[in-house]
Symmetry: D2
């Protein structure tokens, strides 16, 4: 065959298999999103539509990899996906996992742009990705706690910063200088005293980021429950999300379950993470 004497170049493809039985986290990050969000007029400090577009792109990834990706968490221009420790997706080849997840996310982001955004997309946005292996449950929970703590820190800063600029009439430099060295309590106070903002009453969407999780739907007629993809804005640092439902409050029968947006328990994500086997 004509190509065969060149085919030796394939021998240079080195294996990059992820260690078996480790949890894999793929985190994607927007490239140049400071400029991108500026050029597309994103609202400050948070653009709800742009964040919903991120969530939609992430849901696309989760649906494509159902049974492999069990949890995702997003904030700002980043999203983290948890691949189950027993997943054999792509034989755990790291470059395949990273690249395909980033590609699916990017593709869905551009594809769904017009459904979420009013302005036209001016140029193709892009993301990069990395993969991290975690050996045990503890590190996985701490990873997601790390990202949500980061959400809190960044969102608190951004909220008071843009209040100073947009409502307080300060320049961006003045706002930075005002906030330099302030601790959390001082930022809360500036918002409340100067702008009447009670930070803790702001939408959980912005304060808690978005958690995507496959949730079992109890169905007495099926041995293996169906699952649905839930979009939550809840605390995932504490135990509530990760602890199974209390015995005393058995889950409602399938036909009695209120939609999650009407169901206070589900809104808080109680126990949904307990199905992840962490």
């Amino acid at each position: 065959m004509a190509g065969s004497r060149y085919a030796y170049v394939r021998d240079f493809e080195l294996a990059d298999v992820a260690l078996p039985r480790t949890f894999l986290v793929v985190r994607i990050d927007g490239k140049g999103f400071h400029k991108f969000s500026h050029q597309h007029g994103f609202s400050k400090p948070n653009d709800a539509n742009a964040l919903e577009l991120m969530n939609e792109a992430a849901r696309h990834v989760m649906r494509e990899f159902k049974g492999h990706i069990t949890l995702a968490f997003g904030e700002s221009d980043e999203y983290s996906f948890l691949i189950d420790r027993d997943s054999g997706l792509y034989n755990r080849r790291q470059s395949k996992l990273i690249s395909h997840i980033v590609s699916l996310f990017t593709s869905a982001y551009v594809f769904a742009w017009r459904r979420y955004m009013d302005v036209s997309l001016q140029y193709p946005p892009s993301f990069d990705g990395r993969l991290v292996m975690y050996p045990t449950h503890k590190e996985v929970r701490d990873y997601f706690a790390w990202r949500q703590a980061d959400t809190h820190i960044n969102n608190l800063y951004n909220t008071v910063f843009w209040a100073l600029v947009l409502q307080g009439g300060k320049s961006e430099r003045e706002a930075h200088d005002t906030l330099k060295g302030t601790v959390s309590a001082e930022k809360h106070e500036i918002m409340f005293q100067q702008f009447g903002i009670n930070y803790d009453k702001l939408p959980a969407f912005f304060r808690k980021g978005t958690t995507l999780v496959w949730s079992p739907i109890p169905d007495p007629h099926r041995a293996k429950p169906r699952t649905e993809l839930r979009t939550l804005h809840v605390d995932i640092i504490g135990d509530t999300f990760w602890t199974p439902h209390s015995e005393k409050q058995p889950p409602a029968a399938a036909d009695e379950v209120a939609p999650y947006y009407d169901n206070p328990k589900r809104l808080c994500g109680e126990g949904l993470g307990s199905h992840l086997g962490l």
Copy 2:
């Protein structure tokens, strides 16, 4: 800081730096493009518009990484990008290089879809990627020869296959059976005898794939020449593409250079690869 006690999870990010001074090739491949091309009615055996869209996405990647990616070659639903051995892009972190290139390509593909295709995009397409390191010039040339030889083999097969189906009225199974075990000369003969197709006269675009290369534009007024991105459909297996211009035919002065589509020498890509330092 609230997040600091979780930040240890970053220590699990292992280095994945590519070996210095190696040439890096990132190859991306369409995921599920058999189904994708069917659902979007791609012409068989080749859809020129869909291939031009691939080229446009690849040019976007090359422009974003100008000075780092020096050459690209595409065929069907795959594209290979050559990163210069001295490039320090992303400090040569493999996961970053793979993921960002795949993301840029995907994004541009979806973004530019409507400029190239008549039908609407029905769902987000995706790609995956891999990275290979090559120590010397020889393997790089052989890598691209391998891909272009593959183009030849696949396109020859596909051309006669679809002639049998679309013009010959055979079922796909019958066409496969007809071609089973045939060598190259027999395929040429089937095309010529039964359908009057002279394979070697078909567009080089389909037979040779697409080569993208930054080409210097001579300019007596500048020490460092400007470059432009060329889109070629030429042989890159032989020496012509890789060998500098003959001394006897000095390059024309800048203002005398015909556009490459009028310039036979440039159409054959003569010497353009000689600037890659291979």
Copy 3:
């Protein structure tokens, strides 16, 4: 400095850090020990002195890496060392860990040769090594179970094989043919019927291999107990080795503890593995 313009070559040293919080197992294997054991007249099927020399070399490794290597298991010409998941030895650089452990073992083997062996060492023996990461307790226990099960299989075969040859007067080829396809029970029967050997009464040293473990020595006068290195020939597949002492039989006070060779419980290794945090 004269050397500085060459120092860039250090940049080619790529990181090879083991994933944090994984258990590391380094296994070393004799190179060409079939020939080596023949040339040095090792007794068949087991040479107790040669095995004790292996154990001595392994104890040297464990003493050098006390606090890092917590368990070792050896059989025939191989030894496996367990590095604690929290060890930061050599910053977990894999090549350093492998090479230094192999070097220490080799050095001690040659150094101690004359204390254990009657014949002179005729040429330098050598070993190679590999490192494997295990994320959880389960895989670590299964790894050591795998090696001990292997010990059982090999030793059973070798014992009956050499009985056939040395006592039964068969050639090695005849002995192989006799054993071909026999299951475990048949091998036991051949030994018992033809040679009066009750396999289960043979020394545990040969049947169980050697387990090295740091064992705490209770001492009411010290907050942190001293430890001593134990050399055991016990079952490490079942739970006994890994389960803490029963509550009903509290450990004896330090001054009442019999030496382990007089203490049936300690001879069976009961609970010694429970200190490894697996």
Copy 4:
């Protein structure tokens, strides 16, 4: 089989193949040799016997891997081995290559101790190792230049340091303080003025380190020449070692070749490196 349900633990052994067609350098370093050399009374600044023992251990490695390791360079308690770019030794598995080379070296060092050293070996010495891949000739030459430049710097310092201590009666601290901040010329001057030492007249063994190389022996009766392992103390930074013999001075016929210690050309290593294909 009893062991089979545990055998899955082998799946955790990840590939660590070195990139094809790269030159591999394995460098080994003595562990704790400051203390080791002190306890065994090594002469200062250089112990010729101890260095010869290092060389003997390295020759053992080169003989074991003849056809794979083509060059070695040693100084002080370190040795570097060059594995040919086309070697498929151990299928280029890095951990195997590192560990076996370190083990062979260590074993030979302990084994040959008594032939070279007067004092008894008091405890097992050890080494560690690392492996580096180099894509081209240039980096390989620069790697060995780097090590020999290091030899020069260290030996110059050590020679004047121990002259100050042993002949000049200074304490080690005083000697360090004297040399602090001195450049090369000043060190030469101290040696010459105070101790009458002409550094450039000291044995090349100490100043140049030791280079081991397989050298072809011309033999008109054989198509493929035999080779012998040469032990050289020559400059390998400049071109002489690496450049083929001049045409004007054809190599002597085999039976006329003087032993290398009588042959000035061979003493300078002229052209011996030219057979390495660098």
